[in-house]
């Protein structure tokens, strides 16, 4: 029975917990158990002292490295990167986006939820499905006559 299995697992877990608690009880001090300590241990000098990264180049000795350092400095100075000016305004973007029939995805989704009636209506509004294929038309005889 399912409920018997569950109870059995619960009892087994409790017994297990009890055992491990008994095993480690003499190792754990009260402080560790209560856990809520005001001390954070940080073993790294670089983080404690706030040291900089020690790979540096000065006066053009290593241009590649100096460019990296410059970028870093710029990022530090203006914490957020300077926002790039927009070449296309939001309005223009929206207009061209919808003009190009971009939201095809939204249409596929709306198609899923539309009724059969709406579906037929839209199909008919889109124009006849089978357009007459463009093909060569024999010129009329009198067209020729006019030119001559």
């Amino acid at each position: 029975m399912k409920f018997m299995q569950r109870t059995k697992a619960k009892v087994a877990k409790e017994a297990d917990d009890e055992q491990s608690r008994a095993l480690y009880s003499n190792e754990l001090s009260g402080m560790v158990l209560n856990g809520n300590s005001n001390y954070i241990i940080e073993p790294s000098y670089s983080i404690c002292e706030g040291l900089i990264e020690g790979r540096l180049s000065f006066r053009g000795m290593n241009p590649e490295l100096e460019r990296l350092l410059e970028l870093e400095q710029a990022e530090k100075a203006g914490n957020a990167r300077p926002e790039q000016p927009k070449e296309v305004t939001d309005k223009e973007m929206a207009e061209s986006y919808y003009a190009n029939n971009a939201p095809t995805v939204s249409r596929t989704m709306s198609k899923k939820f539309s009724t059969k009636n709406e579906f037929n209506k839209r199909k008919s509004s889109e124009g006849p499905k089978w357009k007459k294929k463009a093909q060569f038309k024999k010129p009329r005889q009198d067209d020729d006559n006019v030119q001559v």
Binding site: S29, M31, S37, N38, Y39, I40, I41, E42, P43, S44, Y45, S46, I47, C48, E49, G50, L51, I52, E53, G54, R55, L56, S57, F58, R59, G60, M61, N62, L65, L68
Partner: protein, 232 residues
């Protein structure tokens, strides 16, 4: 705090930290450890404090203890399967996978030989397992890490390395006024310098080593004389 420097000895209880810890969370740096609810120093040296709540002991030592995130200079010692053994001045050699370089693949291994110098980040530092290094950042880019070619390499105390790495270090500014150079300082007390000529490089390393005994206070005065050391 900067005016009065307290020297602590190993085993000494540091009540100054405990007082702060009553009010807020406190970060205990190297040299301080917590014993139950007491804070005890485990190294000898001046107790340093950084606002708002960081404390550490600035002890003089030459043996590097790896810590996660540190930038170190290592020497390739050997090649072991898909790892390189790197000497970073710690108790154990560190390892770096050949895949921990920019654009490295199983087919395209980095060309490193014993004796080469690496500027790398400590990825993994634990007392029980050997430290692990990487030469790429989390985006897989090299950044400033990687092999150090040419130049001159020397060892110093960990304190000197840290002294140079403090923000707005007057020593580096003073040296920049003298000559163009490139430098890599590892927090493991290893420094690599490179200037245009051999003579300049050696002068540079001498100038840096002259700072070995400098404290926080006399550094400005020594820096003003660095030009003389370079000429000598």
């Amino acid at each position: 705090m900067a005016t009065k420097v307290t020297i602590v000895m190993p085993g000494e209880r540091v009540t100054a930290v405990e007082d702060v810890a009553k009010g807020k969370r406190v970060i205990l740096g190297p040299g301080l450890r917590r014993v139950d609810d007491k804070v005890v120093a485990s190294k000898a040296g001046p107790l340093r404090h950084k606002e708002p709540n960081t404390f550490w002991v600035d002890s003089y030592q030459r043996r590097y203890v790896p810590a996660r995130g540190d930038l170190v200079i290592g020497i390739i010692r050997a090649r072991a399967g898909d790892l390189y053994r790197v000497d970073i001045g710690a108790a154990d050699t560190a390892s770096i996978s050949y895949l921990a370089f920019e654009a490295a693949t199983k087919k395209n291994r980095p060309d490193l030989n014993p004796g080469d110098l690496l500027y790398a980040r400590v990825l993994n530092a634990n007392a029980d397992i050997e430290p692990e290094l990487v030469c790429v950042n989390s985006n897989g880019k090299r950044g400033k890490l990687g092999m150090l070619q040419d130049g001159f390499f020397f060892k110093c105390s960990l304190n000197l390395g840290r002294l140079l790495l403090r923000e707005n270090c007057p020593a580096l500014t003073a040296l920049t006024d003298e000559l163009p150079f490139e430098i890599a300082v590892g927090v493991n007390g290893r420094i690599w310098v490179k200037a245009h000529s051999m003579r300049e490089t050696v002068g540079l390393s001498n100038a840096i080593m002259a700072l070995e005994q400098a404290g926080y206070t006399e550094i400005d005065q020594i820096c003003s004389n660095l030009g003389d050391v370079l000429q000598a």
